[in-house]
Symmetry: C2
Subunit: 204 residues, 2 copies
């Protein structure tokens, strides 16, 4: 009988890998057990069901996703343009560190109406917290002819779209546009910032 210091943590770590790679349906209890180096019965002992284990991890990840956009934007000591730059950059870096997460979230939310409902409420809340102050600032700059007028939600969607898509596309285009992946992604991060600043019509 093999004894681990922390079987529960090992299972969580292994399950996170497995679910991110293969999604809920594709992930197998046996495979998670193997990755964790424990008997598969242990997974049921600690988490009862596959769904329990998944939800535990999924909710934590959703929390990260929905709270990640504001911090860089909220630091009102810098001018808005600087904060937008930083937000794009840190959002890009966050997705880079969790490059399988967007695909997992989209897939599982589509195939599970309960998860979809919860997620949409969180998004709705995040937008409601973010939008009014941002829109006020954007309108102010637009009135001063410093930027072009834009709706806050369009700006948010433009940023999220550009940052998200490159990582969703990455497995399909890896090696097509550049030999070195790291250089390629760094370049794309700069390009995304450039695109957004151009949209705002801000002259660098």
């Amino acid at each position: 009988m093999e004894r681990h210091e922390n079987t529960e943590q090992e299972i969580l770590r292994a399950a996170e890998q497995e679910f991110l790679e293969k999604g809920f349906a594709g992930a197998k209890i046996m495979s998670i057990a193997q990755r964790a180096g424990v008997n598969h019965a242990m997974i049921h002992y600690y988490f009862r069901t596959k769904e329990n284990l998944f939800n535990r991890l999924f909710e934590e990840k959703i929390r990260l996703l929905t709270t990640n956009l504001y911090p860089a934007l909220a630091n009102t000591e810098q001018p808005l343009i600087e904060r937008i730059k930083n937000t794009i950059s840190s959002h890009f870096d966050f997705i880079a560190e969790n490059h399988n997460l967007p695909r997992l979230v989209v897939n599982e939310i589509i195939s599970n109406p309960k998860r979809r409902k919860i997620f949409r409420q969180k998004i709705q809340f995040a937008i409601k917290t973010l939008k009014p102050a941002l829109q006020t600032e954007l309108d102010q700059l637009a009135d001063n002819r410093q930027i072009q007028h834009i709706k806050a939600e369009d700006l948010i969607l433009d940023v999220v779209s550009l940052n998200l898509a490159i990582f969703i596309l990455f497995p399909l285009i890896e090696g097509v546009f550049a030999d070195d992946n790291k250089t390629f992604l760094e370049h794309r991060k700069e390009e995304n910032i450039k695109v957004i600043l151009s949209r705002l019509n801000y002259k660098i």
Copy 2:
């Protein structure tokens, strides 16, 4: 014994729906048979295996995806900016009509190395056909100070990212930003065009 005029076509139609909704692993032979209104043994009779059936449909879809970007761009009678506008618009409309396709392609290509290799070759070929002429035109306009300098591959990725992401995000944000989905998507299409033209620094 129920007799259909075209069992094979019914199966293909039903399988396309099922695979697009649930992916390869999530799709079930029994469920496809039910949608098609045929006995499940018929699916094996006509296509032998689930994988055969899937590949048949998948390859056709990939062909559509990789050939969809150029036609609007190739019509050299119009000025480049007009053609770029039209390309963004028709690319957007194509994804709108096949809104589940990008997710399916990404998922299946990630989980299947053989498909990944084939797909990457097709992308590589499509880019090679598209890029040189486009880059020449872009450089020309940039030299005339009509647009800002940009690499052809960055322009392509910007367009594809913006158009793709909104449909991948759609199930997550449906109803969050607007009540009417059709109006919302029309608005986003215009926004995407505006973003790209701003990036090119083209004054409308």
